[in-house]
Symmetry: C2
Subunit: 345 residues, 2 copies
DNA sequence: TTGAAAGCGCTAACAA
DNA sequence: TTGTTAGCGCTTTCAA
């Protein structure tokens, strides 16, 4: 059997004819707009059901809304981002809005392309997850479409922001390690090269939070930051450098779980064991951290809740584009596991 | 500063006026359609550049294409699905097509909603990743929009299919374990309850492949399948049952890496060590399997390539809806790691 | 309360 | 080769 031409869609006109009313009436019922009597509503809804009518979102968008929320995600593999998306999707579930995710493949230019693609598809609102665009670019995007920025420490009148308190998160790890008796605590940072981003990227703030916390605990002399990247390889290479130090740090705090995975590999390769010889901590409390053989102490920034908030804020702004902007800063919590313990005697 | 009204979009009409040509001309240039002289093309392109024109994909869709490919993904956390999406996105990179992912949150009804939402948004093509809809429903979707089904062992004239040879994959693991000297090899299956799906879901095929391979190696008497689920908890509970067996199996083959994670936890909890006391293998060769402390033997079904193929097939079908359908079956490979070894003496 | 009709930005038949 | 114009399915003024 050849795939025949797709059957013509049921349109608002078909519904109107079938219910013997005007298209305007159908449109009003569709939008729950003012000016349709209960009798009219019933007639129209019945016709819709009988014909199996579904509104054509794309066509609606040409005049009104598309009921679509776009999410720009820089890395489709990052389980923390999956948490955010999951929270967002759950928040929007049951509303008329559909979440569509645009993966930017780790590339700044691509982030811009994906964001533009979403605007060109008339999305009603955008969620940008840790975007690497400048504040000015964010401003420009937000001027065009309701926007929520997640994970960047920026705020502006034009958009809402949801962040984790990364300073507090870094301090949680340092405190935890100090309480266990550590002093030589090193940090692996994802280094930021673009000047315009230094002030607002979470990786930068975590490193700053680490330094601050070390100082607060009288350990300024032991501050030791490796400029690397939040990847497995970045963690691996960073740890190799740290393990070569004499005296060796007794604890390594990687700014992200995925980097901590690389740290664990370098530590194992060096013939050392975790946590007996060295403690390792991460950040994000991702699935990785929870896996039995890994059991990584980490910082939980509850991505699920961040997604919830992002969804709520976005719908509020879609409803009222001129309402004042909001910044939500969530407090992270410590997820202590078996990868951290007292330092060797 | 209040967020002012968004600036009006530059449209095809603006470009036409600016270039002092007709809108048709602009449209033709946009589509590289026949009937525009080089001089005209140059003029129009220049005007587009000067005005910073971007075509409105949603509006284009009302008559022609939207240049959007939708991907229905049942579970945004599954790293194997991320592989597929990554391969697809890479394949489509550089074309005019944009990939948008709709997360279905593990729920059949949701899968249908997401698929419908994509159709209602006039997407040009759909990629359905291991959908749990019936063959008849797949047929219906494919009749409306070009569709590629990934990971389901189905084929039909209306859509293309990309699958991994799950029978061969299961056999790879069994062979590997047999060569190591195992005989009591157990399998943890994701059980399928819907009759219409039994024949075509990868989990079912893997279990069948396991039985077949055991038989081929003269181990029919040792066939031992636990009906569970492809989740951490499913693997955990399944392994608990298996570890209580006397004699105990010397190897556990979980049908998915994520289930193998649960197996590892149950094994550790039972005070046994991997691979000295018991070997563990998974399926998917996901990031989990590669992590140092886990180092799980698994089956690589190269999701990246599956995504590549899906993208290519979809564009071919968008170009010619009536070309005959294709089934691509990829051969999996074994990724042997430290979680499997010879059974205890 | 109801409905007719003018667009939204673009494509595609058709005419010039 | 170029331009005019009628829609695509819906929303939204504006009359009735």
């Amino acid at each position: 059997m050849e795939p025949s031409a797709p059957p013509r869609r049921v349109t608002i006109v078909d519904v109107a004819k079938h219910a013997k009313v005007s298209v305007t009436a159908v449109s009003k019922v569709l939008r729950n707009a003012y000016g349709a009597s209960p009798a009219m509503q019933a007639k129209v809804r019945e016709a819709m059901a009988e014909l199996g009518y579904r509104p054509h979102a794309a066509a609606r968008g040409l005049r009104g809304q598309t009921y679509t929320i776009g999410v720009m995600v820089p890395d489709i593999y990052n389980p923390f981002f999956a948490d955010i998306i999951s929270g967002l999707t759950k928040q929007l579930h049951g509303t008329d809005y559909q979440v569509l995710v645009g993966p930017a493949r780790h590339d700044y230019d691509n982030e811009a392309l994906v964001t533009e693609a979403m605007i060109d598809r008339s999305m009603d609102g955008l969620v940008l997850i840790v975007p690497t665009s400048t504040p000015a670019q964010l401003q420009a995007t937000a001027a065009t479409v309701p926007t929520v920025v997640v994970g960047r420490h920026v705020c502006a009148a034009a958009y809402d922001t949801v962040v984790d308190n990364d300073t507090a998160g870094a301090a949680l790890i340092v405190e935890h390690l100090v309480e266990l008796g550590h002093r030589r605590i090193a940090h692996i940072e994802h280094v930021e090269r673009t000047p315009a981003l230094i002030a607002s990227m979470p990786n930068t703030i975590r490193a700053r939070g680490y330094r601050q916390a070390m100082q607060d605990h009288g350990l300024a002399a032991h501050i030791d930051v490796i400029a690397s990247r939040y990847t497995r390889e970045g963690g691996y290479l960073g740890a190799q450098q740290l393990l070569a130090r004499r005296p060796r740090p007794t604890a390594i705090f990687a700014g992200a779980d995925i980097a901590a995975m690389g740290v664990l590999e370098a530590v194992a390769e060096a013939g050392l064991s975790v946590p007996d010889d060295i403690s390792v901590a991460g950040y994000d409390n991702s699935v990785y951290a929870t896996l039995g053989p890994i059991s990584l102490t980490s910082v939980d920034q509850s991505g699920h809740q961040m997604g919830n908030h992002a969804g709520r804020l976005l719908l509020e702004r879609v409803a009222d584009r001129h309402r004042p902007s909001t910044l939500i800063s969530l407090s992270p919590t410590l997820a202590a596991r078996r990868s951290t313990a007292a330092p060797p005697a």
